[in-house]
């Protein structure tokens, strides 16, 4: 099928015209036909009516006087009307008075019709009219007329026959007219299309369409031309814009090149500045390290010599002065250590160790140095462990200890009365990885909220007046916070002014194989006998620690916070017939003397039923008469050390009567075996100090100034121990040690070797010449 859009404009026009005129003609003809038909029918009715009028009027007298002849005569007048084929006159009662029939009409008379008013009826082949006849308002009869419709049908046939050729003729005329006139319409459009095609093909926008006739087509042509003008102008503008854009791009490129060059210069300058700054910083760190080292060496001398001097007979005044000198020197050394640590951390030069260590040992070691200071200030120092803490983990015990000492030291420093508690709380773990929370709680001055963030900054304390009152560099917390951060934790703080502070942090470690020394293992293997003990302490931390430890040693521990409760528990145990095997009593029980409880225990049961152990953190904790009175087995100083507690309990439960009054033992003199020791040290002060100290211990000491001399000395003599400095002129400690090992001269160079290895790992000098 041909699609409308594919037909040419010419044929579209033709088809449109033909179809529309056909439709128009059909409509017009139909309307005309309907009108004509209507007219004919109207005429027909009118004719019949007029005939009825005439006949009716004329026949009134004939009807009145029932004159049939006259009636027939009047009806006969109908023969002049061709289409009327029957006429009947009726009397008022419906009887026929007269009837007329056209010749050749075959139909009979109509059914008796006696209408009240005029009735007109159309049938297929005829038209009927019946009407009443009246005289002076009286009905005197009726008339019936019947007209044939043959003429009407004939007229219809005729008009149809006439219209078909008329329709064809009209169509022909329309076709011819359209054919003749089409070019006036399609011509201009085709001309316009041709121009458009040319414009499209040749991209020639200077072409113009010719003037077109007709309002719309003319406007179309003008618009088309105008469009071409606009496009041409636009093209030109575009070309100009392109040209100017290229120029601008070139210009901008130049600018950019200039800018980039400038930036590069700036970057180079910045880099140089950065490098300079870094170099300066490095220099500063190096300077600090060097200065620290240079200061530490004479400080060692001062400390060592002071110690030696204090061991000599002195007057009270001299001793006091030297004591002050020693204290100042220790402080100064601490400050220098802090500065050095801080400097290392700042430069990222701290490397954490990853070695197996015991958390509990670490905690004990941290508590120990602080304990003396706490005792001096009369402060309680407790610690506790919570949860299934694995003792052995992998990490850096030195740094952890440093942090703990720092926090505990701070707590002691800022607390005037009350107690310091170190808490170790196991958080969670999954066999490999374990985490624990450390907290240091004091009952000191507290830290105002506004200063809490600041105190972790370097060289800051809660406020400047604090520094004046308590002294210190303010580096401690900063170093601790950074070390903890390096270990993967965060140092946090809770504090209430006037009530105290809690510093806490969480750390995570990998579990490590236990590494116990043989003697310790032996100790641990000696299992404690299963027994029940009573722990009485007003400090919860103290109770907790003893419970935690003893439960791991297989003991059953009951606790009491007050003397009354403890006495009740003990009395109950006696009643049950199995009194506690041992009672650990804190000397201070909420202000009451722990001896009171000891007395009570002794009153309740025989002396050998229960071993009594007293605990206290007071420095004035010495034996008195009551020790014997209540047969107190042992006195333990807080913070408790596991080894001491275990030994104590062991002897108590085994009924070992060897009483140890106090666990603080005097430093044991290294006695008996006197060693031959070679000291390799270039610094004269250090040489002297080491020599004096070792000789004092009863060893035979020989001095050399460098590694080469050491090697020579080793070739000539035998030594049990070599103490080797790392940095020395001529030959350093590392090289000398290697040389000695190669020659395999002596096997007791352990200390020297370990010192050398350590030096290599840290890449810097580690002084191990602490006289203590």
């Amino acid at each position: 099928m041909l699609r409308w859009r594919n037909i040419s404009l010419h044929w579209q026009l033709m088809l449109l015209t033909m179809v529309s005129s056909s439709v128009g003609m059909v409509v017009a003809m139909t309307l005309l036909f309907i009108y004509n038909d209507h007219r004919i029918r109207e005429d027909k009715v009118e004719e019949l009516r007029s005939a009825a009028d005439l006949i009716g009027t004329n026949s009134v007298a004939a009807l009145v006087f029932e004159d049939q002849a006259e009636g027939a005569r009047i009806l006969q007048a109908l023969h002049t009307r061709r289409h009327i084929r029957q006429g009947v006159l009726y009397r008022a009662d419906g009887k026929i008075v007269a009837r007329y029939q056209r010749a050749g009409f075959q139909g009979g008379p109509p059914e008796v019709s006696n209408p009240g008013s005029e009735v007109i009826r159309w049938t297929n082949d005829h038209l009927e009219l019946s009407r009443p006849l009246e005289l002076e308002d009286r009905k005197i009869g009726a008339i019936y007329l019947e007209a044939s419709l043959e003429d009407l049908q004939q007229a219809r046939r005729d008009s149809l026959l006439l219209r078909i050729p008329a329709f064809m003729l009209a169509l022909l005329v329309v076709y011819l007219l359209t054919f003749l006139l089409r070019s006036s319409l399609t011509g201009p459009i085709q001309r316009l299309a041709k121009v458009a095609r040319e414009v499209a093909d040749r991209k020639n926008y200077s072409l113009r369409a010719p003037g077109l006739g007709g309002a719309e087509l003319g406007q179309l042509g003008r618009d088309f031309n105008h469009m071409l003008v606009v496009i041409e102008a636009g093209n030109q503008e575009l070309q100009e814009a392109r040209d100017s854009l290229e120029a601008r791009v070139r210009e901008r490129t130049k600018e950019l090149e200039k800018e980039i060059a400038e930036r590069q210069r700036t970057a180079v300058m910045l880099l140089e500045a950065k490098q300079a700054a870094e170099a300066a910083n490095d220099a500063k760190s190096q300077f600090l390290a060097n200065v620290s080292h240079e200061i530490r060496t004479p400080m060692n001398g001062i400390l060592g010599m002071t110690e030696l001097a204090l061991d000599t007979p002195l007057s009270v005044e001299q001793r006091e002065y030297l004591g002050i000198v020693q204290g100042c020197a220790v402080s100064l050394l601490e400050i220098i250590d802090d500065v050095l640590d801080f400097s290392k951390i700042e430069n990222g030069k701290i490397e954490l160790e990853k070695i197996p260590f015991s958390i509990l040992d670490c905690a004990e070691n941290a508590l120990q140095p602080v304990a003396v200071r706490a005792q001096q200030k009369g402060l309680g120092l407790e610690w506790y462990i919570r949860g299934e803490l694995p003792e052995w983990v992998t990490g850096d015990p030195t740094r952890l200890r440093q942090v703990l000492i720092n926090l505990l030291g701070n707590a002691v420093k800022f607390t005037e009365e009350g107690e310091i508690t170190l808490g170790i709380e196991y958080l969670h773990g999954d066999g490999e990885s374990h985490s624990a929370k450390f907290s240091v709680t004091d009952t000191g001055i507290g830290i105002p909220a506004e200063n809490r963030a600041k105190i972790f900054e370097a060289f800051q304390q809660s406020d400047n007046s604090v520094t004046r009152q308590y002294g210190g560099t303010g580096l401690g917390l900063s170093i601790s916070a950074r070390l903890i951060a390096l270990m993967g934790g965060e140092l946090q703080l809770e504090s209430e002014v006037g009530k105290g502070s809690t510093f806490f942090f969480e750390l995570q470690w990998k579990r490590a194989e236990e590494r116990e020394s043989k003697s310790r293992q032996k100790l641990e293997q000696r299992k404690l006998p299963a027994a029940r003990i009573l722990v009485t302490d007003d400090r919860e931390a103290g109770r907790e620690l003893v419970c935690w430890l003893t439960s791991r040693w297989g003991l059953e521990a009951d606790t009491a916070g007050t003397m009354e409760k403890a006495a009740a528990l003990y009395a109950k145990s006696v009643e049950e017939g199995r009194p506690y095997a041992a009672a650990l009593i804190n000397l201070n029980l909420a202000g009451k003397d722990g001896h009171g409880l000891a007395k009570e225990i002794r009153r309740c049961a025989p002396y050998d039923a229960t071993a009594i152990v007293m605990m206290s953190s007071a420095p004035s904790f010495v034996e008195d008469a009551r020790t014997n009175d209540y047969r107190i087995l042992q006195r333990l100083t807080k913070p408790l050390r596991r080894r001491i507690l275990r030994e104590c309990l062991n002897s108590a439960l085994r009924g070992d009567e060897r009483a140890v009054a106090t666990e603080i033992k005097k430093p044991k003199e290294i006695s008996g075996a006197s060693c031959r020791i070679l000291i390799v040290e270039d610094n004269e002060v250090n040489q002297k100090l080491a020599q004096k100290l070792l000789e004092k211990m009863g060893h035979e000491v020989r001095l050399v100034a460098n590694g080469e001399e050491a090697c020579q000395a080793l070739q000539r003599h035998e030594f049990d121990l070599v103490l080797m400095d790392l940095q020395m002129p001529v030959m350093g400690g590392l090289e000398a040690t290697r040389k000695i090992r190669v020659s395999e001269h002596d096997s007791t160079c352990g200390c020297a070797r370990s010192a050398a290895l350590r030096g290599r790992r840290n890449g810097r000098i580690s002084e191990q010449a602490d006289p203590a």
């Binding site: 009027t57 004329n58 007298a61 004939a62 009145v64 006087f65 029932e66 004159d67 006259e70 009397r91």
Partner: protein, 186 residues
């Protein structure tokens, strides 16, 4: 009586048309047929209307002694002419004819007939008679008998003189119409 046979025949015919009145007519003879005809004809005659006339009854007078007005009164009871009730009267003296619109001249006697017609001159009376020569004597309507059929004749000139208009359709039914010309010729 010569006219008795045909009148009876007509009566038979009429009786066919107007059932229910046959019994009443048998005893009355031709008078009744004429009364019926007259009654019907009144619709085709137009009287000139004068003031006050419509208020009065339409008076049909029967003159001529022996002719009974009874049959006329009976036939015309209830009929109206131009909205006026018909009143039938028997008249003896010519003076009494004054207010009549229709006068039926029953007497065959020429002198009396002439006297009556004379007194009707100048009035608007429809003069009706059934004796031969009534039209020629100046009467307007004359019932005649042709064989078996009762017919009527009209003197158009007399009617015109009386100011009456006779419907053409009635004229078409008349057996004889005496035009002005014919009347003048007599």
């Amino acid at each position: 009586m010569a006219g008795c046979g045909p009148a009876m025949l007509l009566l038979v015919l009429l009786g066919g048309f107007i059932p229910g009145r046959v019994d009443a007519q048998t005893s009355s003879g031709p008078d009744r047929a004429e009364a019926i005809y007259l009654k019907k004809m009144l619709s085709f005659v137009q009287w000139p209307t004068g003031p006050g006339l419509s208020e009065e009854a339409f008076r049909v007078c029967v003159a001529g002694g022996y002719r009974s007005s009874y049959v006329f009164a009976e036939e015309m009871r209830g009929t109206k002419v131009e909205g006026r009730k018909i009143e039938v009267r028997s008249v003896r003296k010519e003076e009494s004819l004054k207010n009549c619109q229709v006068v039926f001249v029953g007497t065959p006697e020429p002198k009396q007939r002439a006297r009556i017609l004379e007194s009707a001159k100048g009035t608007q009376m429809l003069t009706v008679g059934d004796n031969a020569g009534f039209l020629e004597a100046g009467g307007i309507l004359e019932f005649t008998y042709a064989g078996s059929t009762m017919q009527f004749a009209i003197n158009l000139r007399a009617a015109k003189n009386a100011g009456l208009k006779i419907d053409a359709r009635l004229l078409a039914l008349a057996q004889r119409v005496l035009t002005e010309k014919e009347a003048m010729g007599i």
